[in-house]
């Protein structure tokens, strides 16, 4: 019997400060026991529990893609006890990771479809994983058009800046990078809130087009009517939720929304599913 609460030991291999306010850092982890990497076989959209002995555990979406081998990456916003401690840790430090946990984005359904990714703020991590996976030469032909609308408050608050510019140069993905506002004269992408940009840039909804939406509640609130107007069915709008978690495996009882656990039955739900669930998130 495998103890599902036992983390795999990992070493911090690299730490990248992502945003100008230093509130977001990406941690690249390497498994101490190489065999654990195979056990951690994951898909984009899943999460892991980062485990720091003496501090506790936090559920964080996996930012790396399964197409990237030899490490796993998590981008972490400094907000509570564990994340604050993690932000002060150094390359070479040992900690633990449990996972992969939760359900990924529904890749079987998404195959052969147009994909529009809509992200805001720091909720772009599993979306990064998804983009890397879809753009992989082995995978790109499995999808039709790919659109990405990604917004942040300012240029300095965007995650994965180098990758964003590289994707913007490609002709097999339509990048719509936007910020709320800036006085930087060299800013070469869009300005405006995500719902507005969605209205202008998103393809119309149809059976073959799926939107994956992750962002702060305010962005989701104003983006949903836009998608409704564009003709997106609620079955074709996919969202990823967060709730306070401990076990991550549907046992400890706190992250439920109705009969479903965000950790085990989610975090990915379609808007149709969410329409029939209490708004306890």
């Amino acid at each position: 019997m495998q103890n599902p609460y036992l983390p795999y030991p990992v070493r911090i291999d690299e730490i990248i400060t992502e945003t100008e306010d230093k509130s977001l850092k990406t941690f690249k982890f390497v498994f101490l026991n190489p065999a654990d990497e195979e056990k951690f076989a994951y898909e984009s959209g899943q999460f892991g529990e980062l485990s720091i002995p003496g501090m506790g555990e936090i559920p964080i979406g996996i930012a790396s893609s399964p197409m990237e081998k030899g490490f796993i990456k998590f981008t972490v916003f400094k907000t509570g006890k564990v994340t604050s401690y993690l932000h002060a840790m150094k390359v070479g430090d040992i900690m633990g990771i449990r996972g992969p946990l939760g359900k990924p984005y529904p890749w079987e359904t998404l195959e052969g479809k147009n994909i529009i990714i809509i992200g805001g703020g720091f909720a772009f991590t599993t979306l990064r994983s998804s983009i890397i996976s879809m753009l992989d030469p082995d995978n790109r032909s499995k999808f039709k058009d790919i659109h990405v609308i990604y917004g942040a408050r300012s240029p300095g608050m965007l995650l994965y800046k180098d990758e964003l510019s590289a994707w913007a140069e490609r002709d097999d993905i339509n990048m719509h990078i936007t910020i709320d506002g800036t006085d930087d004269p060299d800013w070469k992408y869009l300005t405006g809130f995500v719902p507005t940009i969605t209205e202008q840039k998103a393809p119309p909804g149809n059976e073959d087009t799926y939107a994956i939406v992750c962002g702060p509640p305010i962005m989701i609130k104003f983006t949903q009517p836009v998608l409704d107007n564009l003709g997106y069915s609620h079955d074709n709008i996919i969202m990823s939720l967060e709730n306070r978690m401990k076990c991550g495996i549907g046992i400890c009882g706190r992250c439920n929304i109705g009969k479903d656990f965000v950790c085990k039955d989610g975090p990915v739900f379609t808007l149709s599913q969410l329409n029939n669930m209490p708004k306890e998130y």
């Binding site: 103890n3 900690m95 549907g250 046992i251 439920n256 109705g258 009969k259 085990k264 029939n276």
Partner: protein, 357 residues
Amino acid sequence: MKLIKIDRQSLNDGIEKAKSAYRVFGPVKEKNDHEFKLLEKSEMPDLDFQNTRLSPKSIIYPQSQVMFTYSLDESKDDWRIMKEVENVKSPMAIFGVRPCDALAFPIVRRNFDTPDYQDTYWVKAYEATTFVGLACIDACGTCFCTSAGTGPFGEEGLDVLIIADGDDFYAKPITAKGESFIQTAGWTVEAESSVASKIDQLKTAAESSITSSVSTDKLKNKTILELYDAPFWEKEAFSCINCGTCTYVCPTCWCFDVQDETHGKSGIRMRNWDSCMFPLFTHHASGHNPRNVKYERLRQRFMHKLKYYVDKYDNGIQCVGCGRCIRLCPVNIDIRSICNKMNSFDAKNNVCEATSS
């Protein structure tokens, strides 16, 4: 139906013998109540009780349980690596479990022992345990087991059922685990066949001593949102002080918290019973709380037991009718009346039919 007859002396002798093969737990008197305790050598359970103050839940699922140990000493090789605590369970037997409390274990098992994950701590303790039940002869006023999936002679969750008849006892083996407990105890005298009808009479009398009930037949047909949005939750929660007593005394409440506790350079990761009545239970690091208000937490508890569980497992309600939460609630919130309200709620007309508990 095989029945073993045991007199008072052989009952005690058998329990004593069983202690050589099992750690035997049984009800003993503590102040004004009975509690399950590990029985020391020659210590006997006290069977003069209606039910124990707390169910034997904590024998399988301790209120506080160490899961891992760790070292924060940088000079050690295993610095910051979680190590499992030894989790080998020697056989245990719980003697004197009431049928309601016994049913709680299979109910809770659906949460801890799933096709995807096994909670190794719970599952190993559960598998190592033989449940020796004691049928109820007279019920408490708050009992409603007969409408909550079991009854005073209920067998689900038990390995042996023992029925007291004055100074005589009858043991009914239910599982192979139960057979081997009876064998270890050295109880071998088969009861004469006439006993069966006598036991039926005792059973009927015990069942008729249970005067309250819940109706659960219509819970499944309503949608989650119909019940969630029902108008009675704020009123039901008005007097609730969110003390969490109901969750701690409930044999089927299983929620827990995980905490690290460090002393010097070493520490433990442990889990502790938690309660959906507490605001911190769902409090996000950002400050947002999806169940921020008292009535939302009370609604969660009853919706979980009487709707979410029903929908998720299609195996009845997550309540065994022991009545502890009713007896111990400081403000007299009664799961029977809430269950009946939920069951009779007519979403179309936004009313509950007249209910009695």
